[in-house]
Subunit: 328 residues, 2 copies
């Protein structure tokens, strides 16, 4: 472990097909106005031919191309996902194979919407000086949604984002400054998805079918209360660990679950809107992919500069929260 | 990170229902003799009322009881599983809630059968002096099996095992000595399970049903070749990192995939049978749970002593391999 944490490349990939709020009115009783007012979402991308793996591979290929690094120089590949294509192989080994990163170890983590920020900590702890990691959040949540349930279906989208991270003391920029993580398992039942079928002939509970508790089920009020309470606390504790004040941070890259949650967090922490980028209108909630998709856009648009202090915060299923403070 | 790695407690939990080879002959054309000769397996436990979560909670409760540690002293809970009950919440947050480990962060990793040994590395890297982690492998593979496919169904079983690990310099015993990890993603298609349904209305591939590529599919020859080649290599590299010879190691706790693989590894590395404990006869292949189940039995039977040098090696889906060398 070193405090060097240099993000050398960042990229995103989203499915080709874009579904607008209006398109959903044929599937459920909803409206563009209602969705936008409650969530800030105008559209989301959904996988047609794409998979969680193909989106992650797309991101990995872009990261290598941007950094001009040989695939064999990658030491670690972590994919954060709550919507893998297979239970085995996991997503990360398939990325490893697709890009030819023969020297990388590769595994998946599942911390739902907080997965990417948890992965940042694991990368930080894993990397030795001179090593490189790919950290990717990739999701196809559209397969975990009941597209006739207007309370949840309007919220989610598919996509992937990632970073190539080096822990090289030769690199002039990029430092890990502090972090905070917490789990609230007792509230986990407020947000569930993907109950797996029970299929053995001896099980007393053989009634579990994919449509049963497969789709997202959410107590929206409770999850909103959790996020608006615990996200500010997590950010405050991470900033304390980093010995920074909120006004010294250029951008807070928050998980894009709902524009209202982002606004509430900003109000609690007295942040200005320039510190709180939001792109949920185009993508919906893409779980572990949301922070790196937002970050990749901000970097591409030159809204983030080298030397900026950044806070990444993920929160969601578990329930889980995590914040990482870095100098970019 | 510290080199202190003190296993303060270890426990296992298996479902109540035991299925003998003979019981399987009503489901498929097989025989007790055939299964025992090819695999060394006589019986396996299968979940009836138990779940991946309940087995993991059972292990966590035993670990706390053995160590007499307050649940609030736990800082980290990692569950390694390829057979979670839900995609969210993950298993570890549910364990956190069940035991009241309010100060622990909790997440799942998926490295299939190598998951527990990958988790050992993550725990090693995470823990600061004075901190405590629960590392648990928990699986209900019986739900990922086609119980009419005699090539795969006879191999797998359900169960959980775990360790309570401290990184306390006050603790006299327990050190991390070295490790080796590798991923072979290009061979991942030789062992697949749990393809997730694609259910969104826009997907061109809506035909994926739980029974399609849900169940384990394995190219037995290729996986055998992988294991018998890469496991000895991984162990040798981990021993080199630990500056140990194989004859200085008291026990090699290998993933229990097949008694023949264990025997082949032993032959390649010139190990004696006392160094190679095997318990697959009773449990079958329990993936990420197999090493800690075996370890818990050996500790309970006083076949492992404080000060012993131990190698833990996991291998399987990914394809993945990993070896950790510790002083117990």
């Amino acid at each position: 472990m070193t405090n060097n944490f240099s993000i050398q490349a960042t990229a995103k990939a989203v499915p080709h097909t874009e579904i607008y709020n209006q398109d959903l009115t044929s599937l459920m009783a909803t409206s563009d106005e209602w969705i936008q007012q409650r969530t800030g979402i105008k559209a989301r991308h959904v996988a047609t031919t794409e998979t969680t793996t193909s989106l992650a591979v797309d991101v990995a290929q872009q990261l290598l191309q941007q950094s001009q690094l040989a695939a064999t120089s990658i030491d670690l590949i972590i994919v954060a996902t709550m919507s893998p294509d297979f239970l085995t192989p996991a997503t990360a080994p398939q990325v490893q194979a697709a890009i030819g990163a023969a020297n990388a170890i590769a595994f998946d983590i599942n911390v739902a919407c907080a997965g990417f920020v948890y992965g940042m900590q694991l990368v930080h702890q894993y990397l030795q000086p001179g090593q490189h990691a790919l950290l990717i959040g990739s999701e196809t949540l559209s397969h975990l949604v009941d597209w006739h349930d207007r309370r949840t279906a309007v919220l989610f989208g598919d996509g992937a984002g990632g970073m190539l991270i080096a822990a090289d003391s030769d690199v002039p920029t990029g430092h890990w400054l502090g972090s905070h993580y917490a789990t609230f398992g007792a509230d986990g039942h407020y947000l569930t998805a993907g109950q797996q079928p029970r299929l053995n002939p001896w099980s007393t509970d053989t009634a579990v079918k994919p449509t049963n508790q497969w789709a997202f089920q959410m107590n929206g009020r409770r999850v909103y209360d959790f996020a608006t309470t615990q996200v500010p606390r997590s950010i405050e504790q991470a900033l304390t660990a980093a010995k920074l004040q909120a006004n010294e941070v250029q951008s807070f890259i928050l998980h894009q679950a709902n524009a209202r949650i982002v606004a509430s967090v900003g109000k609690t922490l007295h942040l200005n809107t320039e510190q709180l980028p939001v792109n949920i209108a185009k993508y919906g909630n893409t779980a572990a992919a949301s922070e790196p998709i937002l970050f990749a856009e901000l970097v591409a648009q030159h809204q983030i500069q080298r030397g900026d202090k950044l806070v990444f915060t993920g929160f969601g299923g578990g329930l889980s929260v995590g914040s990482a403070v870095i100098e970019y």
